[in-house]
Symmetry: C2
Subunit: 368 residues, 2 copies
């Protein structure tokens, strides 16, 4: 095996496939990156058996072949080399010589035979989405994924395709975050994607920073595949039935409130300081006439905030965990939000003003 | 007590005095900041009994007085308020009302009577230094302070004033870092300043970012005081005799080498990857003719680097812990460095080219 390639292109590619490499594993081969040189290209593969990532880059291949090299060491070496051509040659003992200008590394590699190749999945259905839109979809829902392993299905987000619509929803038992986008597809499909996978896809999209690229998605019974340019990400899906969330989103409300998003966020951030410090984690909100009063009253002190609102319907007093409000207000980009309330023990809905594509549901906290 | 002041000015001041506030202490009052309002100014004080920091800012004082408030909570509240005038009033129960636009906090304070005031020190001698020069002096020596508490005197830097010269030196048993600057003073004095104090002074100088300010230094038997504008930092000194470092810096050498600083640093960084990964922490350097060969040979692989040099004197083979070389090369700003060597078991001296003000001494490691 003998090939050469550019340092920066290789380093960027390592950053991508490393996201699927196990740091802690009982199978040492999974701590490595598979390198396959053929047809004047180099394929890099990381695979921790839950997620596998493949990326193909240009290379000048003099002799085809494959090898596995420690991901951590390989990444560090390539990152520290200058932006020049790097030459690789592998001998019969799997020793990899890496040379670049006045530097020569010789590193013990492992046979590629033991490396678990990524399972190919059938591309029967493929959904094509603008990557900037998909990235935003992840950002607006990923934070509401459950961190609690006792209900494994909630540690992922449900994506559902039907009626030319793709929805993504996360639920953690206290709140729900739902985003819809329209796509051009006649298929009906759904899958629950592990939070970890969405987080890695998000990081890769940020790293590419080519916002007009398309991301292509294919789903089978057990797997989902994301294709972005020369990058292929294959992840296992979560098993089981997701919560039928349609049934828990209310349609009728007693109070509908319009508020400036950043004023509301900043007031809640201040009111939350005492709630968090005292570990009560509760703020009280009173919506009345054209004013929202937000307060916390705990042993170490009290805080009282007032925000202008437009209220339609009944006045209402309700308690919330401020973190769950702040999480949603931070990812809503519109200047104003609508809060829809029924009683002090019913779910509250938050939506950006004039935007039906995003819905946040939050359960209130009983005030003592 | 009743006063008002600007949010940004107050927030910046809290950031400064907080550096002397204890987070973990058995005396709860030390987790607080002392506020003293008088003469249309507000004095803020943090004091953990090792370091005390005072800062005075402009305020509109309607009623003079003092109070102690939780440093963490106070800092968070002020940082989250908008950049407007903030009003403070304290009642007879030490409750502090903080109001700003539509926000009102009421926080339980503590009586200022229990707060340990900062000891005043006699300003008999005062040394005035450009703060940028002093900051650089800290940067070039602080990293060689010992982290090992078994020799407490080495957990600080010695500063010494004599013959219109101020020197600062740190030693950790493996290397020594010495910086000299000229000052205008007829005094003779010395003191060992705790590393923690220098680190906080450095952070405050970075925060002020007014590089042409003067820093004024006074030293007594037990304390050192730094005055920067309206900021006063008083620290205890370390007790005991510092190492007589003059005697360990050699004056005669067999080999004198000139090398490009960043080429040398980058080559050592690469060579160190295998040394660190394998925990051998040793690199081999062979200075011969016009070439420096740097290598590591461990179980997981080997690396071989070559750097152009100008060598005067004998060729030499010597081992080093790469971390100690990189630490020095990172803080040397000149394009080239001089390495002065005698034998493979004698200390090596590193200096910036054409700059006598800085000296680094490093002990070699025996090659196996």
């Amino acid at each position: 095996m003998n090939f050469s390639c550019n340092q920066t292109i290789l380093s960027d590619s390592i950053n991508i496939v490393q996201k699927a490499v196990s740091l802690k594993t009982t199978k040492p081969i999974l701590k490595g990156i598979l390198l396959k040189a053929y047809n004047n290209q180099l394929k890099l593969v990381g695979n921790n058996l839950s997620i596998g990532i493949e990326n193909t880059i240009e290379a000048n291949v003099k002799k085809e072949g494959s090898i596995v090299i420690s991901s951590k060491l390989f990444g560090e070496i390539i990152r520290k080399l200058p932006n020049e051509t790097i030459n690789f040659s592998v001998n019969e003992n799997n020793v990899i010589d890496i040379t670049c200008l006045n530097t020569k590394f010789s590193i013990q590699g492992q046979s590629a035979l033991e490396f678990p190749e990524i399972e190919e999945i059938d591309n029967t259905e493929e959904y094509e989405i603008n990557s900037l839109i998909f990235k935003n979809m992840i950002r607006q829902t990923i934070f509401a994924i459950s961190l609690d392993d006792s209900r494994p299905i909630l540690t992922g987000s449900l994506i559902e395709i039907k009626n030319d619509n793709l929805s993504m929803v996360s639920i953690d038992g206290y709140r729900l975050s739902l985003k819809n986008i329209s796509i051009d597809s006649d298929f009906v499909n759904k899958a629950v994607i592990p939070g970890k996978t969405l987080s890695e896809v998000n990081k890769i999209l940020s790293q590419l920073n080519e916002n007009n690229e398309k991301i292509k998605i294919s789903i089978t019974d057990k797997h989902i595949m994301f294709n972005i340019e020369k990058i292929k990400i294959i992840s296992r899906l979560l098993d089981g039935e997701f919560i039928k969330y349609d049934q828990i989103i209310p349609n009728e409300f007693n109070s509908i409130v319009k508020i400036n998003t950043s004023e509301l966020l900043r007031s809640i951030e201040r009111a939350s300081l005492l709630a968090i410090e005292s570990k009560s984690n509760t703020i009280k909100m009173i919506f009345k006439n054209s004013n929202l009063n937000i307060s916390t009253n705990v042993e170490i002190g009290s805080v009282d905030e007032n925000v202008d609102i437009e209220l339609k319907g009944k006045e209402i007093e309700i308690g919330f965990n401020p973190k769950y409000l702040m999480d949603a207000l931070k990812i809503i980009d519109s200047e104003e939000v609508i809060m829809k309330l029924t009683t002090s023990v019913s779910p509250c809905i938050i939506k950006p003003v004039d935007d039906e594509s995003y819905t946040y549901l939050i359960l209130p906290v009983r005030l003592s």
